[in-house]
């Protein structure tokens, strides 16, 4: 009986699971920003981890965090120079980096989650 009730959702569920399973690698895509070669980098938040945990980008690039977890999360710089605010499931937040340096960040709700953003000068 239950199986009949759920049959309509099963196909979608499998699709969602498969999509999630093969969607765990960080992605970087080229974009046509004002700085020419600027790229957009994606950090997936899943399983209470940032993926990738360490991301190296160039000045002018954009970093986008997407929360795929059931619990809300944040990406908050240790020095609080940037903060995504609360990201519910499937919500995302992005910002364009303007300064070089290494910033460690956490989820303020679940501080066991740690990430590092490294920003370098853009190669000419």
């Amino acid at each position: 009986m239950i199986m009949k009730i759920f049959s309509l959702g099963t196909a979608l569920a499998i699709l969602l699971v498969l999509t999630g399973a093969f969607n765990t690698q960080a992605k970087t895509s080229a974009s046509q920003g004002a700085s020419g070669n600027a790229k957009t980098h994606i950090v997936e938040i899943k399983g209470f981890k940032y993926n990738p945990e360490v991301l190296t980008v160039s000045v002018g690039d954009t970093v986008r965090w997407i929360n795929l977890d059931a619990a809300p999360h944040t990406a908050t710089a240790g020095n609080e120079s940037w903060n995504s605010g609360k990201l519910k499931r499937n919500e995302e937040w992005a910002f364009t980096v303007t300064e070089t340096g290494e910033t460690r960040y956490i989820c303020i709700y679940h501080p066991v989650m740690k990430g590092t953003l490294i920003v370098k000068e853009r190669d000419q």
């Binding site: 239950i2 759920f6 309509l8 959702g9 099963t10 569920a13 969602l16 977890d69 066991v112």
Partner: protein, 174 residues
């Protein structure tokens, strides 16, 4: 008292496992959904009590986190049920959980200051251990629907983080 609560809950789940509390061989998906949702709501009630009674920042932060995360998981459970056109089914296990929680809430409400903080922290640790064990060993293996099983797995991941957090809170309040 904590031990009694935990033992009572364990006995209830034992009944569910044996099928004694249900008409068929064990809890159905919709009964599991009701129990899981009820368990989340109970922890939300504990959190509201902590926010009303505690002045300890660490305890208040934890309670706020419980509100946020359990509400998020429960909202997603309701959304999934709505999408599937299914309704959670009340059952003796859910009713027993609620009954025991009322007793625990009364007990906690009579405590003050650090005594409340310690009791709340200890209860959160015991409760999450109990719920996590039940979800991992009973609910997930017995759930048929893949989406629901997946959500239970994600919820378990959240609740294990809470359990670790509660363990640290207990240690820091000694």
């Amino acid at each position: 008292m904590l031990k009694r609560f935990l033992m009572t809950g364990t006995a209830v789940v034992g009944m569910a496992l044996s099928g004694a509390a249900f008409a068929d061989s064990g809890p159905s998906d919709m009964q599991i959904a009701h129990i899981a949702y009820t368990a989340g709501n109970i922890d939300i009630r504990y959190a509201h009590l902590a926010l009303a009674k505690s002045a300890n920042p660490a305890v208040r932060d934890f309670a706020q986190l419980m509100l946020q995360d359990h509400e998020a998981v429960n909202d997603q459970a309701l959304a999934l049920l709505a999408k599937l056109g299914a309704n959670p089914e009340d059952n003796p296990t859910s009713q027993k959980l609620v009954s025991d929680a009322h007793s625990k809430l009364d007990e906690l409400a009579d405590l003050h200051g650090v005594n409340f903080d310690r009791a709340y922290a200890a209860n959160e640790l015991a409760y999450h251990k109990f719920v996590n064990k039940t979800v991992e060993e009973t609910f997930i293996p017995n759930t048929d629907n893949r989406e629901f099983k997946s959500l239970l797995g994600e919820a378990l991941q959240v609740f294990k983080i809470h359990q670790n957090h509660a363990a640290k809170m207990v240690k820091n309040l000694r």
